[in-house]
Amino acid sequence: MNIIKKLKDSLGKELGALTGLILLGAIMTFATPYFLTLTNLMNILRQSSLIAIAAAGMTFVIITGGIDLSVGSVLSLSSCLTAGMMVSLGWNVWLAVFLGLIAGGILGIVNGVLITRVPLPPFISTLGMMGVARGLSFVYTDGAPIYGLPESFKYLGAGMIGPIPFPAILMVIIYLISYFLLNKTKVGRYAYALGGNEEAAILSGINTKKYKTIVYALTGLFASISGMILSARLDAATSVAGDGFELDVIAAVVIGGTSLSGGRGKIIGSLIGALIMGVVRNGLNLLLVSSHWQRVILGLIILLAVTVDVVRKQSSEDQDGTLSSFFAGLKS
């Protein structure tokens, strides 16, 4: 009993998303025999890992009340840089990966600096960065794919540890780290604080600029990890990679129950959100639903997930009237 309650508490709102995931899984299992097989589940993990990893970073950003539209471009630019270093310059694979990740982090820092120092609204700053990073990726590759990546690099995308794809392992690690950061360290605490009430955070002596910048840096870093996995899987780094990716990532976070208005959200929700998207895509593929209808259905799932959330919130408020009393309590 106690454990269940604890689980329920710690999952909080994400319980809704989890229920959704389980439900979807059950439906798919019922609908097609190909779904519930070890290899297919591993496929889903591998396919979901790209969105999931970037979504971990995005969760931090959205909790601070921000948004990062540049993740897709950052993914592309950092993976092209890494590919370029390995292929054209012949540098050591891990050095190249390391530098690519650093590049992703730096792009994130630039976002953070624009947002905290100018200050630009996150939507604008990352919209600009989206254009700039994508453009640089095109410039760097001249718009053509970089191929012929070293074998050892490809492990990042195609490697297996036992039956489990390496990207899935990486995804789990990233989520453990993110959970730790969000719940056990200042970065997380302050992310919640400044998303909930930035002014209060400032007056509490928190260096909000620093922590916001850290959060955007993290997102850039995670996006570039997704970039490495993608190019490793594709055996090519391309400047068009990750086009529209930002919206998938935001959708995963939102489906996972994190509110776009900031101040609340749980990291595990985003993982579930990404898995929901993965299960839907995979299941619909297995059911031979055309990719066209898949778009429609994914759109509907976003709408549905948030609607359920909104409706549940409304009904829980009707029970205890707490939130309204909070709003009533906000003095001018």
Binding site: R189, Y192, G196, E199, A201, I202, L203, S325, A328
Partner: protein
């Protein structure tokens, strides 16, 4: 206990904001263990001084001595390190963090270098809250707390810092009399521990309950400091406004006519229970009660902003179907909300646009907005209400509080509203502006408007109302004519369990 040792000495502090000299060489001296009140009209510079002490603003000139040593306060963190903590005028809590997370925000206990020690903070918070006589789980989210409790958390936060100086900027503005009493007890406790308190309030009466000394600012200048026992309210007011301000509540000569509004058996959840009352033309009906007694909620129901579960509203003795603010407005009701910035005004738009918002048809020809009509209407009311603004195109956010309140008033006046509900019409505005608002209320009553005035300030209720209704826990606890009313019987109705 108050000693004669100064803990904080400010001399010749100057602060310029673009276009405003907020503080002009002011002095202020705080002794160990004293409660030192700071008073002045809106914009006198009180909060600015506080923000300089707490490191939010940098001073442009002058010297700060803390415990006899000259210091240069670099920021909120620094001032806190020195032992100064502040309860700001605005709430500064994070809604979705817990009480203990809020209390220790920005100075978390750590296990080692990176891990936040939740348990430790939980225990400490529990202790502090207990000392304040509050029995609540520190894991509760702020969003789940009422106003008064939130204010108590702010106080707990300030105390937890083990500061030598605690600054309270209008801590009672959102509190009812009960909570205020609790607060005063706490302040006495702090004093006993030798902690010094700077106390800012527009409720002058309170000062004689808590303060040892009082300092008056006017227009960014230091005016005087008195031991509280050696001054009185009239003297303070004179010093604050720089002129004598007689007769706070102007005379009204309104004829009370027939019933214009009646509420019958209105219910809404647990918040409002079986409310019935009526209002007459030309009458000012005061609503008194503690914070959370349901007055605002009732007004919102009457105005259609919240749904009632059952009950009837009659206007001019005919049942009115009020489903939303729109239908209420069409029935002739106007609502001056308690929070003008959040609910009353579109701050980023002009005075003109705000005024005509409730009835655009007046400034339209058919489907088309006529700018000249719009301007004329605004100018008319700017003149009528003596709104201080460079022009009708000025964005409302740039007006002072009192003038903003007049804009809110204007937007209801253009409709020739029959019934006007004022919710805390003078909250946060200074004595001068208050008087103008009172005069306007009187003038409206004289013109036959029925007026409901919700207020937490008893003198205002007593000074302005023809009749008073006291609410308590969502019910009408009693009604009385003004002749029968006094502070004592209102309070006893309001606090009856």
């Amino acid at each position: 206990m108050s000693s004669n040792q100064s803990i904080l000495e400010l001399s010749s502090i100057t602060k310029k904001f673009p276009g405003v000299l907020a503080l002009d060489q002011v002095d202020f001296n705080l002794k160990e263990g004293e409660v030192h009140a700071l008073v002045g009209e809106n914009g006198a510079g009180k909060s600015t001084l506080i923000k300089i002490i707490s490191g939010v603003h940098k001073k442009d000139g002058g010297e700060i001595k803390f415990k006899g040593q000259s210091v240069d306060i670099k920021g909120p963190k620094h001032s806190r390190k020195l032992g100064i903590s502040v309860i700001y005028q605005e709430f500064n809590l994070v809604p979705y963090l817990s009480i203990s997370e809020n209390i220790f925000l920005g100075r978390e206990d750590m296990k080692g270098q990176t891990i936040i020690d939740k348990k430790e903070m939980y225990q400490k918070s529990k202790k502090i809250l207990q000392d304040l006589g509050i029995d609540i789980d520190p894991n509760t989210q702020i969003a789940d707390l009422g106003v008064a409790m939130q204010q108590m958390v702010e106080i707990a936060k300030a105390i937890s810092m083990d500061s030598d100086i605690i600054i309270m900027d209008e801590p009672t503005a959102a509190l009812g009399d009960n909570e205020i009493e609790e607060l005063f007890k706490t302040i006495d406790n702090l004093k006993e521990k030798g902690i010094s308190v700077i106390y800012i309030s527009h409720r002058l009466k309170e000062l004689w309950q808590v303060a040892d000394r009082v300092t008056v600012f006017r227009d960014g200048q230091y005016i005087a400091t008195h031991p509280i026992s050696e001054t009185d309210k009239d003297l303070l007011i004179t010093e604050m406004v720089g002129r004598e301000l007689k007769e706070q509540f102007p005379e009204r000569d309104a004829e009370i006519g027939e019933e214009i509004l009646a509420v019958e058996n209105l219910n809404r959840g647990d918040l409002l229970k079986d409310i019935s009352f009526s209002l007459k033309k030309g009458e000012v009906l005061g609503f008194a009660g503690l914070v959370g007694s349901g007055r605002t909620e009732l007004m919102r129901c009457i105005f259609g902003a919240d749904k009632m579960d059952s009950g009837k509203i009659l206007i001019d003795q005919k049942e009115a179907k009020i489903e939303n603010p729109r239908s209420a407005i069409e029935s002739g009701i106007g609502f001056i909300t308690e929070d003008r910035k959040k609910q009353g005004l579109v701050l980023v738009r002009s005075v003109k646009e705000n005024i005509s918002l409730t009835d655009l048809s007046q400034v339209m020809n058919g489907m088309i907005l006529k700018d000249d009509k719009d301007k004329k209407l605004a100018q008319e009311y700017i003149e009528k209400l003596n709104i201080k603004t460079p022009g009708e195109e000025q964005e409302v956010q740039f007006l002072s509080g009192g003038n903003q309140q007049k804009v809110v008033l204007a937007k209801w006046l253009i409709r020739n509203t029959k019934i006007l509900i004022f919710d805390e019409p003078t909250r946060g505005i200074d004595v001068g502006a208050k008087k103008e608002v009172y005069s306007l209320i009187n003038q409206l009553a004289e013109e036959g408007v029925g007026i409901i005035m919700v207020s937490s300030e008893l003198p205002e209720i007593l000074g302005m109302s023809d009749r008073i209704i006291v609410m308590n826990h969502g019910e009408i606890a009693g009604q009385m004519d003004i002749e029968d009313a006094n502070q004592e019987n209102i309070l006893s109705l309001a606090t009856r369990e």
